[in-house]
Amino acid sequence: MAYAYLFKYIIIGDTGVGKSCLLLQFTDKRFQPVHDLTIGVEFGARMITIDGKQIKLQIWDTAGQESFRSITRSYYRGAAGALLVYDITRRDTFNHLTTWLEDARQHSNSNMVIMLIGNKSDLESRREVKKEEGEAFAREHGLIFMETSAKTASNVEEAFINTAKEIYEKIQEGVFDINNEANGIKIGPQHAATNSSLAGGQGGQQAGGGCC
């Protein structure tokens, strides 16, 4: 199916925080309570609409286990967005955020949009990390923040779509060089067709704004 843009996302965070479940809920709208450990990388994709434009999200779901860290690290490159996930019922997954963030900042392009996600919001009775703590961490590090539940689907759509909106705005502002695929953004065939004259001429950063 034709799309105007393709955004590449990566989902990161400790093992067992629900990364694969968030992806499955977003792409298949279902929850799988028992999920095998992700031992490499798995992919998902879904089309969303922003500002009347079809945008394809290509999502890389990574292994959270320490032993796969060097492999996971190698997948940051070329991502436009990252979902950094912790589990609100496990304090240690929140404590490890700094390490994840350092990793992400070091190995990704500087414009990557990072969404901090406190997952398992349905397990209020077992909560160990307050929502305010998540908000404070996000504010301090310049991230967007949401609490989600992959089980009830609460805020899952919003988490993926709000990240896309942020990327889209950055494109409009000319922050991203959309002609460099290493930024995790591809111009789709749909877009290229309507802008063939532009692309042939400047091919510059204004291409995104040109058709609005």
Partner: protein, 521 residues
């Protein structure tokens, strides 16, 4: 592998082929594809996932999904190249195959009717307790890697069809393989020879009588005297022959179907087949398989490259000079000969030599050498860096009418490893990889890496071989730094497509009996 076909041309060939446009071969691009581009069927990838896999920037390492299993818990991992071609030109196939007699084929040499249909019975019967029956199929485990060049067509087609040709070849000898007690008959339809049973009463065959052995009347217990010896052909040799012919059939099919389909390029082929307790490793190209047993490395294949096959190629060029199109010399020189050197003595070697000698340079020696370049840069007629494989029927020397195919062989070298001769542990494996792996890691490094990885895994974890394969591909791919992909000690990582199987040999014990009517994975 694409670059290995094209890159050298411009820089090496200089004069004779300069000033040409893009050297695309006429390949029937307007024809339909027989098989569209894909990734190995056993990965079960959706089109979206295939799109993700072709990311040249992050180069994701693909492994088996948790829900999928390969026979014997074999591990597999692959990664795409660093950008030299848009698609991953490696292909892979892994299947458990039941070879059954061709429907309607006469039963030879035994005349038992093939009426019984065991497969219609419920599968509750005790495994291994049954005598193998006529309707039982021969169980084959099949692993294959194909490394494509100049397009993915041949590799994709071979990954879909080579096993069919192996099945067809084995069907022809199925009844003979079933009867391991007797050597394969020299002539079909005659009684088989009974090996190693001198002194037993033998019925005289028609062949024996024709050989003049009809004598010995009154002494039926002594083996008939022979006027000439007859080679004893083992069952193993029939399997080897079947594999060799299957490769040839595959190559012919590609050639035939190029008339109606778009089948681009060529490919190497490395096949490991488990048949009747033995591993048969058939290799045509520059992929490689090694066995790691108790930390020891046992090579089970050899690569076919312009360097390793130089003498065969030079001999062909010498015997059939028209294949060189007047542009190439079959002789090898350490470097290109210059016109001002005519009349001087220069180092050379031909098909009879592994060493070097001097000869007086003549005008003919100014032609471009048939084999030129060193190591990974060695090329046949400045074009291709691998000398065996499937396809490439249209491949020509850049901007000329000289075909490369006559110099390429589709015949594999087949080596046999008898699995039942050793007791294998959980860390004893066969590693198969395309050249993307072996270009950057030595046998020793691969062995060390796999052995130490497996040692740190739970022996009961069925994912351990998949994770070991992923780890191995990661070590060969490396990490993208400022100056490209780098591996240990800041060496260059492989920018090629990399595909790897890790086959645990101990799990061959899962496969018994070899003839069965039961379908198992």
């Amino acid at each position: 592998m694409l670059t290995r076909v094209k890159s050298a041309v411009a820089s090496f060939v200089g004069g004779i082929m300069a000033g040409s446009s893009d050297g695309e071969q006429p390949s029937g691009a307007e024809l339909p594809h027989k098989f569209p581009y894909m990734r190995p069927a056993f990965l079960g990838l959706s089109p979206d996932e295939i799109e993700c896999s072709a990311d040249h920037i992050a180069r994701p390492i693909l492994i088996l999904k948790e829900t999928k299993r390969l026979p014997w818990a074999t591990g597999y991992a692959e990664v795409i190249n660093a950008g030299k071609s848009a698609l991953n030109e490696d292909q892979a196939c892994c299947e458990v195959i039941m070879v059954k007699k061709k429907p309607g084929a006469p039963s030879t040499p035994s005349k038992t009717p093939t009426a019984k249909r065991r497969s219609s019975l419920p599968n509750g019967e005790g495994l291994g307790l049954r005598e193998s029956s006529e309707s039982d199929g021969l169980l084959i485990h099949y692993w294959a890697l194909f490394d494509g060049h100049a397009g993915s067509g041949a590799a994709v087609m071979a990954s879909k069809l080579l096993q069919q040709h192996i099945i067809e070849q084995l069907q022809d000898v199925l009844d003979i393989l079933r009867n391991l007690g007797s050597l394969p008959p020299t002539v079909l339809g005659e009684e088989p020879n009974h090996p190693g049973t001198p002194g037993t009463n033998r019925t005289l065959t028609r062949a024996a009588s024709l050989r003049g052995a009809a004598g010995a009347p009154g002494s039926p217990s002594t083996p008939p005297p022979r006027f000439f010896t007859e080679k004893k052909i083992q069952h193993e040799s029939l399997v080897i022959g079947a594999l060799e012919n299957a490769f040839k059939d595959m190559d012919s099919q590609i050639e035939r179907e190029k008339a109606v389909y778009n089948i681009s390029g060529g490919c190497t082929a490395l096949v490991v087949a488990f048949i009747l307790g033995k591993l048969y490793v058939a290799n045509a190209g520059d992929s490689r398989a090694i066995i790691i047993r108790n930390g020891e490395i046992i090579p089970v294949s050899a690569e076919f490259t312009p360097e390793s096959e130089r003498q065969r190629l030079q001999f062909l060029g010498f015997m059939q000079p028209h294949l060189l199109g007047g542009e190439f010399t079959h002789l090898e020189f350490p470097r290109r000969v210059q016109r001002k050197e005519v009349g001087k003595k220069m180092l050379y070697r031909d098909f009879t030599m592994t060493g070097w000698a001097y000869k007086t340079i003549e005008d003919e020696d100014l032609r471009f050498p048939l084999i030129y370049g060193e190591g990974k840069k060695a090329r046949v007629m400045a074009t291709i860096g691998v000398t065996r494989g499937l396809g490439d029927h249209d491949l020509k020397v850049h901007d000329s009418n000289i075909y490369i195919k006559p110099f390429l062989s589709c015949c594999p070298e087949v080596r046999v490893y008898n699995l039942t001769q050793y007791e294998h542990g959980a860390d004893d494996v066969l590693v198969m990889g395309t050249d993307g792996l072996w270009d950057v890691l030595s046998n020793e490094e691969v062995s060390e890496s796999v052995t130490s990885f497996l040692a740190n895994c739970d022996p009961d974890d069925l994912h351990r071989y998949t994770m070991a394969a992923q780890d191995l591909v990661m070590r060969a791919r490396g990490v993208l730094r400022d100056r490209g992909w780098r591996i240990t000690n800041d060496r260059l990582g492989s920018g090629d497509d990399i595909s790897v199987y890790i086959i645990p040999l101990m799990n061959s014990l899962w496969t018994t009996p070899y003839f069965t009517s039961l379908h198992r994975a």
